[in-house]
């Protein structure tokens, strides 16, 4: 597959996507390689198959370097490499810019890192790219995914896609691996990418269709994305006995000011307008949410012993993985925030989160990557008890013609 320029291009790291009509997300002026059916790429470390365009191996977390990074949705040429790298400088070098594969110097002291994975001078552990990574497919769309402090592995995953211009379709997917299950870090990453690829490839829905048609099409796309994510989890489930891999799922598709969100589990999407009422768009599939529905206060329910018990998830043992969906038109400008519980555990109420984002943006600047990184840092400063993922899309002011008929209310909510 070769992606073409502008809206007419489709993005798919796995090569599942082909060009579509207006509305599909594209990468301007960058050629990609085919993954499926194309040149078979193998991880140099563990020999697992890897999709072209991926920055690190799904199986072992090895840094794949520049060869596989070509055409990566996460590293479009329009994004400076400094932004694509992890804030602490430990992230993978941007493949398009740094062709050498020499191991990165120590992120703490700049010393040489030995083959055993530790610095020869200060002994700092080389940072696994799986433990902390960021994506920014377009200037207005970015995410940071971090191990946090308490957990040994990062079982969160994020995958993004977006066109280069504000107002293009943006896709944000977050999956949170269930930590009691085996290989959830591998499965969650595969799930997020699979869902992202499905959503990035669907035809545009804006032109000509009625609102109802568009909502139905988006909801259907989210169901397909959850199917693909679920298949990916199952494909990465170890045959060994034990707890099969499982993860949550939340995906947001933004086209202009039209937003559709689907979810399974307790990862969330928030709409945080610059002015107006901030909103939590998702309703957790969790024991806590059931308690809230029964009248228990959110604070009490979310701090109880069963607060993190989810009632629905993706995986081979999932009873039902059909996402609940919500669609709405956004009264921009503002932030679409998609996150795992590693963030919202410390700031659950939408109005609190909006205040936090405003406050944080005041210090980090308003770029989505810097802001996502600052929010991750904030969650770590609160204790970092869980893996933390923050994905952000900046929604610009809608044009005057668009605003007239928009509502901040969900125009449809489907239940499975």
């Amino acid at each position: 597959m070769t992606s073409t320029s502008g809206d007419d291009a489709a993005v798919g790291a796995s090569g599942a996507a082909t060009g579509h009509a207006a509305g599909a997300v594209g990468q301007s002026g960058q050629s990609g390689q085919s993954g499926q059916g194309g040149t078979a790429l193998l991880c140099p470390k563990c020999s697992s198959p890897v999709a072209s365009g991926e920055r690190f191996c799904e199986a072992c977390g090895a840094d794949l370097g520049p060869a596989a990074a070509v055409g990566a949705p996460a590293s479009t040429a329009s994004v400076p490499p400094s932004q694509d790298a992890a804030p602490d400088g430990a992230g993978a070098p941007d493949g398009a810019v740094a062709p050498e594969t020499a191991p990165a110097p120590c992120h703490e002291c700049g010393g040489e890192v030995a083959d055993d994975g530790y610095c020869t001078q200060c002994g700092a552990a080389a940072v696994s790219p799986r433990n902390h990574y960021s994506e920014q497919p377009a200037p207005e769309v970015a995410a940071v995914c971090d191990r946090g402090i308490r957990h040994v592995r990062n079982e969160d995953a994020v995958a993004l896609a977006a066109g280069p211009d504000a107002g293009n379709r943006a896709v944000l997917v977050v999956c949170d691996g269930v930590s009691s299950s085996t290989d959830s870090d591998v499965a969650s990453l595969a799930a997020a990418r699979a869902a992202r690829d499905v959503l990035a490839a669907i035809p545009g829905t804006r032109a000509g269709n009625s609102v109802g048609t568009r909502v139905a099409a988006s909801a259907k796309a989210l169901v397909m994305a959850a199917d693909a994510a679920n298949d990916a989890v199952i494909a990465h489930t170890s045959s060994r006995p034990g707890n099969p891999a499982s993860c949550t799922f939340v995906a947001a598709v933004l086209e202009g000011v039209e937003l559709t969100v689907g979810w399974v589990g307790d990862s969330r999407a928030y709409w945080l307008p610059d002015t107006g009422v901030p909103r939590l768009l998702t309703v957790d599939d969790s024991f806590a949410a059931e308690q809230i529905a029964d009248g228990v206060s959110r604070a009490e329910a979310e701090s109880g012993p069963q607060a993190h018990a989810i009632t629905r998830w993706l995986g081979v043992d999932a009873p039902d993985h059909t996402p609940r969906t919500v669609s709405l038109d956004l009264d921009g400008p503002g932030w679409l925030l998609v996150c795992s519980d590693g963030l919202w555990n410390y700031c659950s109420e939408a109005r609190d989160l909006a205040a936090l984002v405003t406050d944080t943006a005041g210090r980090s600047g308003s770029g989505p990557l810097a802001l996502a990184g600052a929010l991750v840092d904030w969650a770590n400063a609160q204790g970092g008890q869980d893996n933390i993922t923050v994905a952000l899309a900046r929604v610009p002011s809608a044009g005057p013609a668009d605003t007239t008929a928009r509502s901040t209310q969900p125009i449809a909510v489907t239940a499975p």
Partner: protein
Amino acid sequence: MATFSADVYQNEFLPDGGTDVHAIVTVACSGAGEAGQSGSGDAAEIVIVDTSGSMSGENIVAAQRAAAAALDQVLDGVWFAVIAGSHQARLAFPQDGRSAMVRMDATTRAQAKAAVGGFRADGGTAMGTWLTLATRLFAAVPSVTQRHAILLTDGYNQHETPEQLSAAIEAARGQFQCDCRGVGSAWQVAEVRRIATALLGSVDLIAQPQNMAADFEQIMRQSMGRGVADAALRVWAPQGSQVLFVRQVSPTVEDLTSRRQDVNPLTGAYPTGAWGDESRDYHVAVRLPAKAVGQEQLAARVQVAVADAVVAQGLVKAMWSNDDTLTTRIDPAVAHYTGQAELAEAIQDGLAAKAAGDTDTATVKLGRAVQLAQETGNEEATTRLRKIVEIDNADTGTVRLKRSVSKLDEMALDTASTKTTRVKK
């Protein structure tokens, strides 16, 4: 071809603000082959027998038999010599007036055994002179890369000053390894231990002369089974850290800390001598600057180096956590060997206090030793301690010193104090 492995046993989790990392590193060698057969150089053996006047009677006869038994174990082709030691050192074999050492074959073996058979007990004891001659003999054969000696004595070093002995030990350090044996109860454990420790060898008591031959045979067989001439333990620790100690903890306790030779500013080498097919455990302790909770850090690379090539490596890690269930756990191997090292110290301190007439300190120290032997399951130590103290309560370490104690029992406890039991893994 010898292969080494290094396995690390530790709890890598440190509490917030924690700085000290402890690990037991088990180094195992297999396929070592036989001494002098690796192609990297020849092996050499010297048998040093005390022939001072006090050896007269059954001791000198037993020593002759023991030396002959040792010579029987020396492989053909290995360089060797025999030293008869009194207040001066005499080269008993070879006696051709030219050679320092000769290669073992059927002829030289018979000649050497004949020379040993002619030993007469006469003169005093100056062990420094014996070591000095051995150092000179080894140095005279340039093709030799693996050097080992057996030293037998029955008395204390009364015909030279402690300073003279120290100088001889220092000159011999790094030149050859020496296993030392004392027969009877007239020798001083501390004095002979000083030689053995410096020369990477063992020290033991032969209570009865008739046991001497079997012991010598075993020592020489073990030495011939050491096909790796010399290996060093290397410990890398990060910038800003401090290596608190490096201690061999099995099969015996030996503090190696002061033997460090810098490989580079962050890496020290600790000589461990020759290796056969065996495993030894090392306790490495490193103090790090504390890092934030959630951070991971390499605390030490523990490596085995043979001829300056690293042949095995184990990683000692540190990970700071605020999870008490992780940070409060003490690794069983670390706990076991910490107890065994303390046991050795308690026994030696207790016996020293007893010898100095400090009954209170001796009672406390030996009581603690009884307690530690009980805790770490060292039944041999308990059995030996029982001959020195009446044990009222092993769990609390309540003991009374026995009124009359055999000197040999005390020496047996002292020489065996550094022997450890392996941790059950």
